[in-house]
């Protein structure tokens, strides 16, 4: 860190008596400008322009009319939204699945990394690790197909195991039970991303000083105690960074899994705000109403971010924002 700062100074410093003006520097750095400004323009078009689209929520938007020719209707669409019973159901689903996903998706990769780190057999460790990354590279479309297959009533391995071990009398129709949907989505996500998300923790563990373990062993510490007192504190900074990142990604509450794994029988549990917006906004061409839902979706994400940040601040004494 220190080094880069020093470098920054020596580079940025302008020789004495030659203070260049803004435009002179622009001219001198024209290549650097040429290499970044087009992409800034790009980002402006594809990421910032849609933000102006939020105005649609306050209009009775009709395509083809200019911005000022639209009918401005104030909060009409929001009021309509808050009066819709379905909205509260969808909001509940969004919150539950976001929070479940954050909790499970954050803790299990750490656990997995710790246990993998404790495995002494090199080849075994390497094989498990490599296989665990695999699902990350597969699309949700395929994962949804796999999950449906594994949970199916005829020949799904989960039901076969349940019946064989006597845990269930007859195969369970998992995909049609609404109450199961949240759990299925969370577990499917875990299956897909656990290995991938553990990479960074494993890398951090490789950096923990081996002498600490030696010393602990001399003192007679069990493996559990070594994990608790050496490994976990050793990767604490990484855990915090990852927590920050996953809280940050609450902003983009997904809908891909819900879309692909959902079906009409579980729709009361599977529909999330984005899907709700999709159904109204695009499939029914109610653009203004759909945008209002989208805005609300962002608000929920920001509120979640603040709550998570608050909890985080309290227990880790650090802030995300």
């Amino acid at each position: 860190m220190k080094l880069t700062k020093k470098k920054a100074h020596s580079v940025a410093a302008v020789p004495l008596g030659q203070k260049r003006s803004f435009w002179q520097t622009v001219l001198q750095q024209r290549y650097l400008y040429a290499m970044s400004l087009p992409f800034v323009a790009w980002v402006f078009v594809f990421n910032y322009l849609p933000l102006f689209g939020w105005t649609m929520a306050f209009q009775d938007y009709r395509p083809g009319l200019a911005f000022f020719e639209q009918d401005w209707v104030g909060l009409k669409h929001f009021i309509e939204l808050f009066q819709d019973e379905r909205f509260y159901l969808v909001l509940r689903n969004t919150l539950v699945m976001s929070i479940l996903g954050l909790l499970v998706g954050f803790t299990f990769p750490i656990l997995f990394a710790v246990l993998l780190n404790e495995a002494r057999a090199k080849l075994f460790k390497k094989t498990v690790q490599t296989v665990s990354y695999l699902p990350h590279f597969v699309s949700w479309v395929v994962v949804a197909g796999i999950v449906t297959k594994m949970l199916s009533v005829d020949g799904g391995i989960v039901n076969e195991i349940l019946v064989a071990t006597g845990a269930a009398d007859k195969p369970i129709q998992f995909m049609t039970k609404g109450e199961w949907f949240w759990i299925i989505v969370t577990l499917a996500d875990l299956w897909k991303e656990m290995g991938w998300n553990s990479i960074i923790f494993l890398a951090a563990m490789a950096g923990v000083d081996p002498q600490l373990y030696e010393a602990a062993k001399v003192d007679g510490a069990s493996r559990w105690r070594q994990i608790w007192h050496i490994t976990l504190p050793g990767i604490r900074p990484t855990i915090l960074v990852v927590l920050i990142l996953s809280i940050g990604s609450l902003m983009t509450i997904g809908f891909e899994k819900q879309f692909l794994l959902g079906n009409p029988t579980v729709v009361n549990y599977s529909e999330v705000l984005d899907l709700y917006a999709l159904n109204y906004g695009i499939n029914l061409s109610r653009f203004s109403y759909g945008t209002a839902i989208g805005i609300f979706n962002s608000l929920v994400a920001i509120i979640l971010l603040f709550i998570a940040n608050g909890i985080f601040k309290r227990y880790a004494n650090q802030s995300v924002m």
């Binding site: 880069t4 970044s36 322009l49 197909g145 297959k149």
Partner: protein, 298 residues
Amino acid sequence: MRFLTSDGLFNVINYCFLTIVFLATLYPFLNVLAISLNDSTDTVRGGIYIWPREWTLENYRTIFQYDHLVTGFINSVLRTIIGTVLGVFSSAMVAFTLSRADFQGRKFVSTTLVLTLYFTGGLIPGYMLMRELNLINTFWVYVLPGMVNAFHIIIVRSFMDGLPYSLQESAKMDGANDFTIFWRIIMPLCTPVLATIALFVAVGQWNAWFDTYLYNGSNPDLTTLQYELMKILQNTTMGGSGDANAYRSISGEQAAQTVSPESIKMAISMVTVVPILLVYPFLQRFFVQGMTLGAVKS
């Protein structure tokens, strides 16, 4: 008796747990592979686990007779190649300007980019924008909107920060301009991190289906492999007799008699998974490095 010490017990539990994770991850893939290679009328009897009972390549032969699927395959390959080249190139270029501490516009550029990580316009304004830009029903809607990605830029940039600045200084003395420095000196040194980004973008492109659904769903010429698979899966999980059966009729009566929707699903799944499985062991070293880098610095 040594076995029962607490360490021994720990090892037993640990290896059992890891083995379960290993099997739970691998089994579904082997199962899909086995079903895709098994005779489809035989599959209906059930009991296929990780080994096909009656070997056949008929399922694969059948799916490659579908025009949609072949078009989808070509489009998926095209969008993956073009999207990856554009994505890697733009990330590298912007990252280079951001890694230059003397660059005057650095703060502006980096703020503009980082904010995109936190704000999105949402589904409908995004859709309206594509409409206004006339990108709907074009191939370009696959590669242009996501071309500049702040997360990728941050990863490349932190790699570039690790390169010694003296390299650039000496090139400058030899009269190279900033673009030449970027192209001839920085780019070659960044191969590991660019390979990581390439993998990220390529996987994202190859696996994308939602943009096809949203923007090009009605245009069979612009379909993608994942979208075709999605349609089949959606229709069969809903118990409807939609596309999977439509697929059968396209291919004619003969195929309809020999291949069930189940086999079609599994064979297409394999076709979408195998290309990735082939490249990823080779790139593993890179992406582990890239992941670590990206998270530690941002």
